[in-house]
Symmetry: D2
């Protein structure tokens, strides 16, 4: 029985050569490409923690939270100016005004900004403020957007589609890479399964972390907020993700003293909890450097990270060249 | 335990009032809005059959197939000029040239055209050729595209996301409706589940047909080609879909004498099989009219179809008004 | 990346030779083994319809329903004496008393009985009353029970586990077959997926019907009651199943004038609806015989059914012999 | 739309009172019942690590591995004498002989034994050797077996069904509890989802750990071997599970110098890796005791464990009494 449209991870070198560890062999069997965002290094020595509100609601809320996130020791600020909502009648984000608020928050705290872009026509506008562009789960298959984001020459945070196979996810990364941009960080955020909604929002799929690391050199982080949908699960899920080998975390934070957030308040944590998570992330780094002898596991934060990977060596347009290179590197 | 982001079908009237049967009560408990596409009536007396190639590859292939589809008795021609592919290195469709070919195919056969649009910036261009705009499964959550398509004032074929809940699907329809366009036809095309890939491409979810009919008045059709991924399953799946109450079918057809199609050839059927499916669709109409006494089932092709629903009565902007109207109509 | 425990449908001939169409080649590429149950022929000329209560609750309820089922034209009576319930504190069935009631119902109506057995120690007892033993979805992987049921020399209705792959399902059948009993009827009853619970109880997976037919000669029927969980969906789902090629239906029926059934009343239909379904089943037989020329589809009710397959030719113990036979028949 | 058979976690106190934290309130909001197995304490101060072969194949293999497991610092020995296999023609375990080998392994190493029982008729026999009875994933819904195991007065390791909801899992525990045995340890072992088979065997669902802890006082451990199916993922998955709050681990270990195991060798780890996991488990205990101030997380290994829970206070038969008690204890 022949079924249309089947791809397996064995097809990755051929289908997605630019992001394939086998084809693009400069990172070796375990090295991670370090993606640098205004001094923050994804895939580097220590896990990156990103915190911030689900949506930018107001100047006071966002700037206040940015300071709290900074004090908690996190590395970057997240916050949505444009929000994808299931209903068109729900709050859709504050748009341009939200971008301006994020800019102010960065100026005051020094934290680099990651924010989502949904419209290919707004990529330029968002890229003027954002240090890193986020492609959300709902748009992982939006190839038009992926290509536009790839052309923006900004690092990209690529969330996994809620039912995307690993192949499809790497395929989405390849769309960005094809535009000459390999500064891509993958982000697992929970997948849809039969338990979705019974006791958590999605199913946190940590197995995908070591699997992705075997197949690509791109760093991978985890969003425990969406993956659980339950505030009380975010801290243990963060620790679990780091132990599974995640290069970082993307976490929704709220200041509950200012009232309930307009979206997804049930999955937000406070700054005190964020600080504990940051502390854990730094401790796990220390532990990892001290022992550093876990040979059998693919999920270790890598010491072989190609830290100095010069930005000039990015693949440009020529896919044919890469494919040629691939043929000699490909495993039999 | 409170979980973020939960919605249930009970929330539909409030969240998606424009497409809710309860709120937008002119179609009653069972009536279907007839969506007319150049004389073809979705939700009318008889099921609509759409056939055509996966992708427009060449003038010869597409025009040849259009004639075959016409001879088989189908109502409309499908064919992708812009193709979403998992790999950016695969054939991405023939673009503008493909649109021109589709135009010729329509002129020669008289069949109205449905074709996919993926880029919000190309909606106008595609709408000049297409009689009906298709939003693909991968873009069901692409709210930017949905809004743009809604503004194009063309009927829309809205495929279900491969892991979209019914709520999310109706939410996507609401994005289109909010632009003043209720000429939306839903299209089930298989969902992702654990059996995906073992013996079929996706899991054909026919239960969603009667469920959608209870909640909305929009017509709903089925794409048995993607839902099965196996040519030999397309005919029985087509019959099953019609018996479950589908208002029509969207089927990939190939002329295998011209060689293997560039995409998804394993799920294409030939014109002879298509003709049998059309015959079955017409027979089922006859049967439905003769008996017409199935009270217990929600999936009956409706005799109460609001055939004359005047286009002028489309909802415009004022959602608040609709919600007010809703409160007096809502079931307890 | 090597993953433990992977099997695919290509492994079926080697892993499950007794039920494999390729190995056990007497049924050819399309023939169905006719499983006869007290004169009722599964896989024969026309679909078999089984109706009856979810659980045997009382003499009055069950015997009354049996007469109604008979009048509706159905072929067999279903009814659970032993009920698997998610909570041990729920009604667990009426046990031995229930078996006695089923016996009386058969005597009064002449309808053969299918009833579930859950305990390997009770197989003998249940087999004294039942014409066909049902292995429920929750016990599909209960290999101890499967072996015991296989030894009982009664036809078996083997429901698919709620998340069983097709391979696992045929593996369960092989456990029965290994005891020398090939009188097995498969029963699809809905699978678990992300939509389970949103608008239906399970996801009705009709794709598995043509797939199973390609791989095995065993007849396959559908339980639309559990697969939908919604009374109003049972009739359209029944018609859809038959069009997809199902050899029959297993349907829960209630007499609502006697009050709400103790279990699963929301998925039961009344006898009038059952009669319409029976009528449809008989009509589809007539239609199938008249045309009978659908070459491309695997789901056709087969005219090639090996009607006269003599019971004496059942495989007995010797698996080695069958495997030897297999090697010469196997497709390359 | 009413759907049959729906239960949610809000129904747990009423449906499964014996294992409900709300009803059986002696463990408070966070306390864990300590289940003691020959001195090993599940839910106590430190995580329990169980290691051993998938199947007992020979005296040499099992006893050798038992010594290695002991040297690695693990607390208990696992090993299947009776193996549920998808094909009846595969190695089904060594049965009674296997039990004898396990007994010898315990005598030589002092490690308590956990082993699976599949047949209700063999519970007594297995219970003579096993210190803890395992109910496997395939038999989680086998209520006949659950009741028999409950009567055996041995601690039970209850694996989650591969597509069991949390409600169904606690329902299975309730079947055991109803026999007067609350010495139940839950074991998450991966669930079936769309990624099953692409890069891991199952989807490791760690979200269920904090969720289960909120609803029941029963300890919960994780089987990272089946949940990943990939040897190289077992160590990171073990660490992740412990950080998510797992009370222990059940791990398949092999001595690859003795050849490939007869089943599931691809998911086995060697004793050196096991030793690192044990070391991590002990370290995490130390860390947990030092800080011990994580208020927001449900997944913390509990200091409030009711260590001295007297065995005499086991619930006996009277469910009605418990339910009455429940009404006054239930949270609003």
């Amino acid at each position: 029985m022949k079924i249309a449209g089947q791809i397996s991870i064995d097809d990755i070198p051929q289908n997605y050569p630019l992001v394939s560890r086998v084809v693009n062999s400069q990172y070796g069997e375990k090295g991670t490409r370090v993606v640098e965002v205004a001094g923050v290094r994804f895939g580097g020595e220590r896990p990156v923690v990103i915190g911030g509100p689900c949506a930018v609601e107001s100047h006071e809320q966002t700037v206040g939270l940015a300071h709290a996130v900074k004090r908690a020791g996190a590395d970057m600020l997240r916050g949505g100016a444009y929000k994808p909502r299931t209903s068109p009648h729900d709050f859709q984000g504050s748009g341009l005004e939200g971008l301006c608020i994020l800019k102010i928050a960065r100026e005051q705290t020094g934290l680099p900004i990651v924010t989502e872009v949904m419209d290919p026509r707004l990529v330029g506008e968002v890229a003027q403020v954002a240090d890193m562009l986020q492609v959300g789960s709902r748009n992982m298959h939006n190839y038009t957007l992926l290509a536009e984001v790839g052309r923006a020459r900004k690092p990209v945070l690529l969330k996994r589609g809620m039912s995307a196979s690993l192949c499809e996810w790497l395929g989405a990364a390849e769309y960005i890479a094809k535009q000459g941009n390999l500064d891509i960080v993958l982000c697992e955020r929970g997948i849809r399964g039969f338990p979705s909604g019974e006791y958590s929002r999605y199913v946190l799929d940590l197995n995908v972390i070591p699997a992705a690391k075997m197949l690509t050199f791109l760093p991978i982080i985890v969003d425990p907020s969406h993956a659980t949908g339950v505030s009380a699960m975010v801290e243990p899920a963060s620790r679990a993700a780091l132990e599974m080998g995640s290069h970082g975390l993307l976490i929704e934070v709220a200041d509950f003293s200012m009232g309930v957030p307009k979206c997804d308040g049930l999955q937000a944590i406070d700054a005190t909890t964020l600080a504990r998570i940051v502390e854990f992330a730094h401790r796990s780094e220390a532990r990892s450097q001290k022992s550093g002898v876990r040979r059998q596991e693919p999920g270790v934060r890598s010491q072989e990270s190609d830290d100095g990977s010069p930005k000039e060596e990015r693949p440009t347009s020529g896919i044919s060249k890469v494919v040629v290179g691939a043929s000699s590197n490909q495993n039999p």
